[in-house]
Symmetry: C2
Subunit: 423 residues, 2 copies
């Protein structure tokens, strides 16, 4: 583990940022822009291996973001990379797909209980937009229900920023509140006979607020409402897919979607997305025209086959869950010991760590920066991601860092409340 970076050693990252600002608007775009994070986070990385990440100044981190999700078996997983290399030696993008496209499609349909068919794409946004288009084509209706605050991608109909978005881009989007059955019913009533689809994320993983599992009643109501209306239940498993349950994140609820969007972890970091659907929407999926220059590239498909097979064969999801529980329990003990109002939410393998009464993230930012300086890359307000490469020693190393970080946070809290510090 490299020592805590001194201000002077920040130079390579700062130099790259200065160059980037000239040729990239704002120096960076999107979810990996560290302008969203407190000052002190590195923007550029040199390398990654297993659950570890090195920034451009050589500082090593245990990575709790996993590239914002795609890395699920470890950076550079040898089995996935061997499969990718083998396919690459023959062909990647060609003037048509390779046989592995069929093999992957069969594996996905075999692995995902609700899936009768699959299409492949490149972005989570591609997958979710295709789900909406297929639902509309299949129902011959227009209205789509989306939970307030849910992220479904960065296309005009769903992107969080309204810059450059027209009112018509969202003309047929109606909102409900996650886990609020009455609001769901109201929105469905409002859509009436024009209800094409109800979209729902695997759990409520909105940024900057505690995460929420769907209640079983909510998941069941969603299925019931869609069935009554003849609408498509569309699960957005882009972020959570392949981390919570190999058959899809709502399998434990016994509620199956009609259409489901996937990406991120499906190929352990290789660029791939997918739409799965049931036979009710097969013909609609055939009618819509969705495609992209690289959607039939063979290497990410070979990587996905290896990823899904390894997830199935090794009990990787159970490993992630066990490691997540170890982390959560360790943090709970530390929070009690330091008398800090730490709030851990979300599935243990996709945790969000916040502090109560910390709307401006004063404590949250201090915590993650102290952890960063101790070699652990965390996020203050976006759910994090564990991988099967995070082993007991790594989690214990994380807990060592968080203990020191929480001690500093506790000290700062005491300084803000001298009366308490004086007790």
């Amino acid at each position: 583990m490299a020592p805590h970076a001194t201000p002077g050693s920040l130079a390579p990252d700062e130099a790259l940022r200065a160059r980037a600002r000239k040729v990239i608007p704002g120096g960076m775009w999107g979810h990996m822009n560290v302008a969203r994070l407190p000052p002190g986070y590195p923007q550029f990385f040199r390398s990654a291996r297993g659950c570890r990440l090195w920034d451009v100044q050589g500082t090593e981190y245990i990575d709790l973001m996993c590239g914002y999700g795609p890395m699920v078996l470890g950076y550079g997983d040898p089995d996935v990379e061997a499969a990718a290399a083998e396919q690459r030696g023959r062909g990647d993008l060609m003037t048509g797909p390779a046989a592995c496209q069929v093999e992957l499609a069969e594996l996905v349909v075999e692995t995902i209980p609700h899936a009768d068919w699959v299409l492949f794409a490149k972005n989570g946004s591609d997958a979710m937009t295709a789900c909406v288009t297929i639902a509309r084509a299949g129902t011959q209706r227009r209205k789509v229900l989306v939970a307030r605050g849910s992220y479904h991608g960065a296309a005009p109909w769903c992107t969080p920023s309204l810059a450059g978005v027209t009112a018509e881009d969202r003309a047929h989007i109606l909102h409900y509140d996650y886990n609020d059955i009455a609001s769901l019913e109201r929105a469905a009533d409002e859509a009436g006979r024009d209800l094409a689809a109800v979209l729902v994320t695997a759990f409520r993983h909105d940024v900057k607020r505690p995460q929420e599992a769907p209640t079983p009643a909510f998941a069941q109501a969603m299925r019931r409402i869609c069935d009554a209306a003849g609408a498509a239940l569309v699960l957005d498993d882009v972020r959570a897919g392949f981390r919570l349950h190999i058959g899809g994140s709502w399998e434990p609820y016994g509620v199956r979607p009609d259409l489901c969007g996937w990406s991120k972890a499906i190929a352990n970091g290789h660029p791939l997305a997918a739409v799965t659907g049931n036979d009710r929407f097969r013909e609609a999926a055939q009618q819509v025209y969705v495609t992209g220059s690289f959607w039939c590239s063979a290497v990410p498909m070979a990587a996905a086959i290896a990823t899904i097979k390894k997830l199935r064969a090794t009990g990787a999801i159970a490993t992630m869950e066990a490691m997540g529980r170890r982390l959560r329990e360790g943090l709970e003990q530390q929070a009690r010991a330091h008398d800090l109002p730490l709030r851990q939410t979300g599935p243990v393998q996709m945790p969000l760590i916040m502090f109560d009464d910390d709307q401006d993230f004063t404590l949250g930012h201090r915590f993650v920066l102290e952890a960063l300086q101790r070699g652990v890359y965390m996020h203050p307000w976006h759910n994090m991601f564990l991988s099967a490469a995070h082993q007991v020693a790594d989690i214990d190393r994380v807990l060592e860092a968080t203990d020191g970080a929480l001690r500093q946070v506790a000290a700062s809290v005491d300084r803000r409340h001298p009366a308490k510090a004086a007790q």
Copy 2:
């Protein structure tokens, strides 16, 4: 070159198609679906190298589609693959970009005269949708002019099929006719003060009709109309970029866009897209939220650096043009010799070959199938693509195949017109 495939040897492709039909709607989606082509085309490929392609039954082809464009230096180009492998050894998708993102951004801005900045994405559709969104954000207007029949991607606002598309998805799209200045002026007048952007493809590369270069007067009118209206001129160089001119396809016209979309050939088959823009739209580009899980992956960026450097250093575009001219001239001679009304259109390195008075593609389909059986993969109604890997011997081998193919076509024409055959 493998011998002409016998019907029995089709079995591996047919077997894969039968499996695919069960798990993929219609067995295949999008532009690589050979259901769009006459029966006889292989759907699945085993490998690719240089300008050659092998289908799953081992038949070898000289590929005139280049993966529908991305392959510009040759499949598995050693320089591009070495750069990709070097970056892959360190990291691809990480929890932030690698330094090569800045290096690529600088190289793009240095190479493309109109570009003051660049953003990276995955699909051509991503790039063109971002161009529209940035133009709207920058102008605070909504209307977008698109040429009738032009392809700009597979998002709901532009996809060729209307299945699942709502009227509102296209509420602010107005149409003009390519190379028709009066129609452009009418559409701009109709948009009035709400005109945000005028989109135009590098040349008229609509499918199933002769290709057209933009007239200089049309290109200049486009710039003049955008300037007068304060709208963004958006060049769609997704398909033609890096094949006609290294600085962008409209450089020879002296007409520069405000925003430009790129993908396909930018990284010789590695998945990458880009939006370039001038300083007028820099702030707008910073305001819009566009992102994707794999948009900061480092390997395609390293591949793009190697691709652009090699295109610049080797005169690859001039090579493609020379090879395209050799092919065109050879075909012209053959058409005369066989007395066939062959019509070659488009830039020589992106040719479209059709027959006059062949609306149902009777002659076109016969021609490409005969060429296919002689080891050359052509397309009857989509522009084709040459690469820098197509050398003189390859073009001559193509011409050998087309000569035989045209002889068969001529024979069939004579059979359709017994009077002429009898002369």
